[in-house]
């Protein structure tokens, strides 16, 4: 299975309309152009639907960057 970062990158590129975006574990709303509050909801919605997982608001509020998102996703996918 390709690593999670490479699976997330096309989702971010599509939602943020940036075909050259290089997603890293350190990427977050402060250092990625266009990652505003509405784009954030679109990102989470796309990830939930693509991976078949759900997030609570509390879980999402604790995330500081994409790396922590990936860690959370992998925990959810492992117990599914």
């Amino acid at each position: 299975m390709p690593n999670m970062l490479s699976q997330l990158e096309p989702i971010f590129r599509d939602i943020l309309d940036n075909s050259r975006l290089n997603l890293t574990r350190e990427s977050n709303a402060s250092n990625v152009a266009g990652w505003d509050s509405l784009a954030h909801i679109n990102l989470i919605s796309a990830i939930e639907q693509q991976f078949g997982i759900g997030f609570t608001l509390g879980e999402l509020q604790e995330l500081k960057n994409v790396g922590e998102m990936i860690d959370l996703m992998e925990r959810k996918l492992a117990i599914r």
């Binding site: 679109n42 919605s45 759900g54 608001l57």
Partner: protein, 139 residues
């Protein structure tokens, strides 16, 4: 007007309504949008372009998607986040349009629903299809 609260929504919940397109609707849309393109105002021009009459504005019929979510699904507590529309076929004055929408996804964390919607004419021909993203606010 429907008044669905977030907890009352479910995937698959759907609504539909019908509207007949009239010339005053096109005239009103011309006035508010300023879109004077002759495809929407000049029958002869429209016929030369291959249509049987002036074509109704795509953004006019898409305004019906606003009514779909603002009045029916979820209705009163709707906050429109975004919409993607494809205009598949033209529509004309006199057409009876049927607007339908169904919830395909609910984002629990942010209370956001995705609605798959479409507009068909009286011949069941697809006029447009849309993916609508709506929030449900507390009042």
């Amino acid at each position: 007007m429907n008044s669905y609260r977030w907890d009352e929504l479910s995937e698959g919940l759907s609504h539909e309504f019908e509207v007949q397109l009239t010339q005053p609707m096109l005239t009103d849309f011309l006035r508010l949008s300023g879109d004077q393109n002759p495809l929407h105002t000049d029958s002869e021009f429209a016929r030369h372009a291959g249509f049987r009459d002036v074509v109704a504005y795509g953004m006019l019929t898409s305004a019906l998607y606003s009514a779909l979510v603002g009045v029916y699904l979820p209705g009163r507590y709707c906050l429109l986040h975004g919409i993607n529309v494809d205009f598949v076929n033209p529509s004309f004055v006199g057409d009876h349009l049927r607007v339908t929408g169904s919830i395909t996804y609910l984002n629990q964390a942010y209370r956001r629903a995705d609605v798959k919607a479409s507009i068909h004419n009286g011949d069941s021909q697809l006029i447009s299809r849309a993916k609508i993203r709506v929030g449900v606010h507390e009042h």
